[in-house]
Symmetry: C2
């Protein structure tokens, strides 16, 4: 369903709600995919959103809630009582249920946990013990595992008994008597096997699993590396405790890429695209503006320090923007390559020396080209060859320095276990500005007698 | 396998190659996953890489080649003759085979296409007719489709016959007599169905498919929206022609996110993380540096134009960096939110007016805070209240302007069907610099008599 369709349905629903035509409304929403319904709800005003949501049966409501962005979800949840929420949570997969319950105010969360199916409640409580951004925090308890002594026939019976609980099954996981993960069988191989075969004879024992406390970004990188449709999660003893599927991995990839991009742009916390609170948006953007503010006050005092040189040769001020901008640009280019490369695992810490050498050579080349260009412009157009030589030289040095700085700071941060994306925005740009101006004006002052 | 393991294996292999211990080398590489082997090859020097690759049987070699980054792959391919390449291509899935063949020099590609299995050759030629970044360009011809009159039993026989060709099967696609896509059945439901049932009775007809010419970013957004493990690709008549699986989608997501991030950072073409050519890296980075260069030469002439004001009040030069940096930062924040939101489909063109209003309000708030701060610093520390008032006011205006500019330009570009990511780096930053300085110095000049 494309955006135009969504827009039309939203308009139709608004019209039908106005006209009080409930049968027609039910008729429209019954055929919609939960993901489309979630988006449609987002575009309705609050009253209409609550009304449409109230028409959904618990199963559809649970699917829709799982597809909603955090902001729309919160406005829906605020309006529901614990009975309706419990009914919805009961229909959810354990990972979605956990996300939802942990968003609720503590007293309501407790009431919901008391009302839902006792087995579900136990699972949600267990999942809530894991950190949100780890394998344990994104895994679900819905998976099919069988003892290695089962026959294919028995496995198929087990799938039948779990068919309703586990909606999508891609692999069967095989465990030993202690529930330790021993192997995997794809559904395809299960179909092709003789019903009397023991599962241990057809299982693939070369299996990739992750531990509950592994960071979700690392989980995503492993899933991508080995093209895994679903990943078994094990505890410290190797016991199978959960499953992460490809759609969770896609969510993690989106989340991590958005987080990196936003951090690089100087947005402190993730800014939800559908966030509606101006104060909240202001709050995540202000920190970098303030870092920039402080840094550029230092730049101002650097300039103040060189006031004498500036008064003598006012033309030096004309080139402050180019010195700052070119240093900034070169620094952002190299830091972005490092930050993104380290995030996707394509640049490894142990090959950093080779990377830095490469950045050094690239910056030498690009610095040389830009420096020569500036020299030519000043020498030819402004007819000031000596000043041009100085400016070109400074630009060359600053591009080299800023490139190297931009590539090096992320590496240092990574070694200190700080997310390098944070550095790219505020620190690299600002430090390049301050140091760039120091180099520029320092050299101007030294060579002033010869200009 | 983690990075430490990879590093150790690389060292061991280097040692064993030196010692000429081929049996031991074969022993090590036989147990490795193709993705790990591909990475190990990347870290070997060229001679050792070719030697290890020559030890691989055609099937393993094809899996390894499919996992390699473009740069390492090219160095391997350069060294192989058409016989070995044909042998490898014969073992590949049609999408990987197409990628590889289209990288080859035309004469070798033709020879390879003549040598491989005729059916494979036909498929590769068909796939090569599609644009690289479309559904047709990333789909594979390996899928299982059955006529809607088949029974479950017949379908399972079909899977058995295709088991070797189609390595991973998640869904069976059901087509009518004209090969038009009619429905889908998951393997789970196939296992649970009675062998005598007709497939059309258990198929899900509510199926999402994509057309061959759909842009790959849009395909990825659809796959994520509906959590699809594999997506059927149809031609203009609805005839099923290919399959895209979740792992292809993950590759597209990574590629598109990296492309966006790099473009935002002012890197013109995608820079491969493993690119080794300094000239190539320089070439993709230079365009933005040059855009910046030209822009900042305009800044310089703006400053030159206001030379008289600057000479009179040299302190005005001290605040050039803060005006430029704060405008730059605010512009990058808002443009990044717009660019990323539009790429993931979370910000729609038809709700742009609401977004722009929000950006306006946020920039008002943050501009006010930063402006007041600058006023306070200059008024209290420098004891120049009137100059402080002017500076604070200018900063306020510039943050508002730059934020709005940063949010607005990506929207315009999107409407013109130009990738908005391109704008974020070069144009927004540079135009903010030039216009910011114009506003700043213009106001300084106007209010000069009152300072």
């Amino acid at each position: 369903m494309d955006k135009q369709d969504i827009k039309e349905i939203v308009e139709n629903l608004n019209y039908l709600i106005e006209a009080n035509d409930e049968p027609m409304i039910r008729n429209i929403i019954i055929g919609l995919h939960p993901a489309d319904l979630a988006e449609i709800l987002h575009y309705l005003n609050e009253d209409n959103r609550h009304y449409i949501f109230s028409l959904l049966d618990a199963e559809t409501a649970s699917d829709v809630i799982a597809e909603m962005d955090d902001v729309s979800r919160d406005t829906i949840l605020d309006d529901l009582d614990e009975y309706r929420i419990s009914e919805i949570v009961d229909e959810m997969d354990s990972d979605d249920a956990t996300d939802l319950v942990s968003e609720l105010p503590q007293d309501i969360a407790q009431k919901v946990l008391d009302r839902i199916d006792i087995e579900d409640s136990r699972e949600v409580k267990e999942l809530m013990t894991h950190e949100e951004d780890t394998a344990g925090g994104i895994m679900a308890k819905e998976f099919v595992s069988v003892n290695k002594n089962c026959t294919v026939e028995q496995v198929i019976r087990k799938i039948r008994s779990k068919a309703e609980e586990v909606e999508d099954i891609y692999n069967i996981w095989v465990v030993d008597d202690q529930n330790v993960l021993a192997g995997t069988v794809s559904l395809k191989n299960l179909i092709l096997a003789d019903p009397k075969t023991r599962i241990s004879e057809i299982m693939d024992t070369d299996i990739v699993s992750v531990k509950t406390d592994m960071d979700q970004e690392e989980v995503a990188n492993i899933a991508k590396r080995y093209d895994l449709v679903s990943i078994p999660v094990v505890n410290d003893n190797g016991v199978l405790v959960g499953r992460i599927t490809f759609d969770d991995i896609a969510d993690v990839m989106d989340e991590e890429a958005s987080e990196d991009i936003q951090r690089m742009a100087g947005i402190a916390d993730e800014e939800e695209y559908r966030e509606t609170s101006i104060l909240k948006i202001s709050q995540v953007r202000l920190p970098w503006l303030l870092v920039g503010f402080v840094g550029e006050m230092i730049s101002a005092s650097v300039l103040k320090h060189f006031e004498a040189s500036l008064s003598k040769i006012i033309a030096a001020a004309f080139f402050i923007p180019i010195i700052m901008a070119m240093g900034g640009n070169a620094g952002i280019q190299s830091s972005t390559i490092m930050v993104r490369g380290m995030a996707t695992g394509e640049i490894e810490l142990f090959e950093v020396r080779r990377r830095l050498l490469r950045e050094f050579l690239v910056s030498f080349l690009n610095g040389l080209i830009c420096g020569l260009l500036l020299f030519s412009v000043v020498a030819v157009i402004l007819q000031q060859a000596r000043f041009g030589l100085l400016l070109g030289g400074v630009l060359f040095i600053i591009i080299m320095f800023a490139t190297f700085n931009g590539a090096f700071i992320p590496v240092i941060l990574k070694k200190l276990n700080i997310d390098p994306a944070i550095a790219t925005g505020p620190f690299i740009t600002t430090s390049n500005d301050v140091l760039g101006l120091l180099i520029y004006l320092g050299l101007i002052t030294v060579f002033l007698p010869y200009l």
